[in-house]
Structures are given as C-alpha cells and as structure tokens.
C-alpha cells in the first residue's frame, strides 16, 4: 500500500518545524515515530498535504529528573522508556506500559509523544498518564504552554493540541515514598490494541492507608477513561482484599467500551474490572518493595 502523495519536510530545529506548521496548519501532520501515522496514511484512512518530520530535531529525546518532576521529551522512543533504569525505579507503571505497546520492532521507532498526540483511546500511554496525573507541554508559535492530562483528550483522535502546536514534553510528578504503580493489559496477541487495560498509581500513608490513587482505563470509551469513583473510594482506606474488589467494581462500572472483534461490551467491562483489581494488587505490592518492573521481577511477583 502506498500513501497518497504528500510533501515531506525535515526541519532541523523546533522553530523551523513550528514555522512549517504555521504555514500549512490543517494540511500538515507532525511525523514523530510514524508508527500510527504511516499506517493511517497507507490505509488512506487519513491524509495530509505535508508531513513535518520532527525526528531530525535534536534535544527532544530525553528522560530526566527536574526536582519534583520527571520530564520526558516528546520524541522519546518507547524502547528508551522500556529500558530506562530511572523509569523502572521511579515509575514502574510507565515501564510496564512501554513494554506492552505494539511489538519490539514498533517500539524502536514509536514515541511517547506520538502515542499521546494521536488521541487514540486504544493507545496505552493515555491511561498511564491519567493515572500519573501528568502534564503535557505543547509548544507553538507563541511559546510553550502546559496542559493538564485531564484536559488533553478531547474526543476520538482529538486532543487539546492546536494545529500550530507540537507536543514537546510530558511532565510527571515524582511519586512520594510508599508509591507503586502497574499497568495490566489484555491483548489477543502481541501487537494488538488492548481488549481492555488498566493503569494504577497508588500512594500509601505511614499507617498503610491509601493517600492518593490514580486509576484509568484503556480502550473503554471514545476517550481514555479516568475511574474517578474508584479513586475517591480508595482514598483514606486500608487497601484490604475487600476494598480492592470494590474499587475494581467501581472502575469496571466506569468503562463504556464498544463491541468489536475483541469482544462484547459486557466482556470488556468485566475485563476492565478484573485488570483493575490485578493492577491494584501489583501496585500495592510495589509500594512496599523496591519498585522494579523487569520481566524477571514481574515473573517473581506472579
């Protein structure tokens, strides 16, 4: 399959990229890793007169600590997240997530910024970023602005990014001590989108009660779903087996998936519930032990 004709631009700086975007606006698409955009263009489900490749702009691929924040460059590839010791230690939820996106070959090119900016509720990073209460930095002709993740996903394939803006950074608050996170995904095979998936980020207080909870679901509606009631229910409680069951029930109730080849609505909602319970248990385990998300550590936990 061959995409419809377009012009390709490879700006060397962010300013050049923004100028091209300002010139072509709605007729332009930003090409990051291309692992969603190129299939879309090949299948002719989408089209663009101009592709602006941000892959040759230096300084957009990084993972770094900035005080209370972990900053991730928009063009950081999934393989970097997956292999980052810093991410494994600080944000095991994100290490889990990166390791189940598409397949290893795709992850060598796919980027975290692209995964978010694509606005696909079936993508995995949106739920993880909702659970982590991340912020997205959008850079446009008038400079950078920060968008809270809860305001970022506007509709199916639609985000709060303006046509003239590029997603340049993701900012995640550093989890306090006694925090843990996990991502649980059910997929028919490696490389498929989630039948259902749940992202959980938990912080316990000194007495063992939940002081903060982030829970979000993948592929459970036209936009990524935050399970607000489940989060509220958990805060202030000891995370006992019964409490986890009830929180997972509330999360499942927040899912409004649509039926497709991956399953019926009832099945998917039930899987959202089951996966939330699993992610909660793993996240809570990780609050008490050194948070590691290596395949070996995962196998050990199971």
């Amino acid at each position: 399959m061959i995409p419809a004709a377009f012009d390709y631009h490879a700006p060397g700086t962010l300013d050049e990229a923004l100028a091209l975007l300002a010139e072509h606006r709605d007729d332009a698409k930003v090409l990051s890793g291309g692992q969603s955009l190129l299939p879309l263009l090949k299948l002719r489900l989408g089209s663009a007169g101009h592709l602006i490749d941000i892959g040759r702009i230096p300084g957009l691929e990084y993972i770094k600590e900035e005080g209370e924040t972990l900053a991730i460059g928009g063009r950081t590839r999934e393989v970097e997240l997956e292999r980052s010791e810093l991410i494994r230690a600080k944000l095991p939820l994100l290490a889990d997530t990166a390791a189940v996106i598409a397949d290893p070959l795709v992850r060598n090119l796919a980027t975290v910024g692209g995964n978010l900016a694509h606005g696909d509720p079936a993508n995995d990073h949106p739920a993880a970023m909702l659970a982590l209460r991340a912020e997205v930095v959008a850079t446009g002709p008038r400079g950078a602005r920060t968008i809270p993740i809860d305001e970022f996903f506007v509709g199916l394939f639609t985000t709060a990014l303006d046509a003239g803006e590029i997603l340049t950074e993701i900012r995640i608050p550093q989890p306090p001590p006694r925090s843990g996170g996990a991502y649980e995904k059910l997929e028919r095979k490696v490389g498929d989108f989630a039948t259902a998936a749940a992202a959980v980020q938990i912080t316990l207080g000194a007495g063992g009660k939940v002081v903060a909870a982030g829970i979000a679901l993948t592929n459970a509606g036209p936009t990524p779903v935050r399970a607000v009631e489940a989060e509220r229910y958990l805060v202030g409680k000891q995370p006992s087996a019964e409490v986890i069951v009830e929180a997972a029930r509330l999360a499942g109730a927040a899912a409004s998936p649509s039926a497709d080849r991956r399953g019926q609505v009832e099945y998917k909602r039930e899987m959202s519930r089951v996966l939330t319970a699993r992610a909660l248990r793993r996240a809570i385990q990780r609050t008490t032990r050194a948070a590691r998300a290596t395949p070996a550590a995962r196998a050990e936990e199971q």
Partner: protein, 167 residues
C-alpha cells in the same frame, strides 16, 4: 510532486537516489536498489517480514519512509553473509531447520541478529520476546528459538576457540 535526493548507507555502501516523499523504505530497497531479500508480508506493520536494521535497530521497513532513512545506515538480510560465508545466525537457521516456507526468514534473521548484538546469551524468554513482532505461520517458533540459541552458542564458543572453516 515532492522529490528528494537521498543518500543511504546500505550494507556499508553509500547509495543515492531521487525518491518521492511517499516512497516506503521497503519499496526503496526492493524496487530502487533491487534488494528483494527483504519481504513485504502484511504491509500493515504486523508481520515483520520487512524487518531491516536502521542505524543498528530492527524496524519494520513498510512503516518507514525512504526519505526518513536519508543520511542513515541500513542493513538488510543480503548484508549478513560475508565473503560467501553465512553469518552464524544464518548457519543457526540452517542447522536447526528454523524455517519452512521461508517467507518470514529475512525478518527473523535481522531481528535475531540485532538481539544477539545486544545480548550475546539470551534466555528462551528473551528470544521469544525479541521476535514477538515477527510472525511465522509455519514453524510454531520452536526451531526458530533453537536456531537463535545455536547461533548464540556458536558465537560464544568462537570467543574461546579460534574460528574454523564453516561446514
């Protein structure tokens, strides 16, 4: 519309061509350079038959534009053999019968080659994870895993002993 002059180092040799913006890397390799070892399978980023190394990393060349490879290095299955001698990973697939129809093999070889570059002694789980983006409809993967293990063992033995001529 929109032609670009690109230079891509393929198996270490600089190749130059004028290409359309929308030309895919796999078409550039197969149709412009005549390197038909890289296969087109699903053409939808699933099967991995089109896997090549781009700057040392295995990627699906049906989901990369040729213009994106400008100034970069590509290794295809044709580049594995040296001076008429199979690469140990190719030798492994031969010895362990790691293929039946052979359609997925170029991608499997490139992905396995990249794995062994990064991890000289992978576990079975690591091998299976590494090739999880490459689909094989014939073998059930068992002999492919053995083939990669064969290549790893041969390379590790080769480190201790001087190499002998290939069988």
């Amino acid at each position: 519309m929109a032609k670009h002059q690109i230079r891509v180092k393929v198996q270490g040799t600089e190749r130059e061509a004028e290409v359309e913006s929308r030309l895919l890397l796999v078409h550039f390799l197969r149709e412009v350079l005549g390197l038909t070892g890289t296969h087109i399978g699903c053409d939808t980023t699933h099967c991995g038959a089109c896997t090549v190394l781009l700057d040392g990393q295995p990627v699906k060349s049906c989901t990369v534009l040729a213009v994106q490879a400008d100034g970069r290095e590509v290794l295809t299955v044709e580049g594995l053999e040296r001076d008429g001698k199979l690469h140990p990973i190719q030798e492994g697939f031969w010895q362990e019968h790691g293929l039946q129809c052979g359609f997925c093999t170029p991608g499997m070889l490139i992905t396995s080659y990249a794995l062994l570059q990064r991890n000289a002694d992978p576990s079975e789980v690591e091998i299976r994870q590494a090739i999880s983006g490459n689909l094989c409809r014939c073998t059930g993967y068992v002999n492919i895993v053995k083939a990669v293990q064969h290549a790893a063992a041969a390379a590790n033995a080769g480190e201790q002993r001087p190499p002998t001529t290939a069988a």
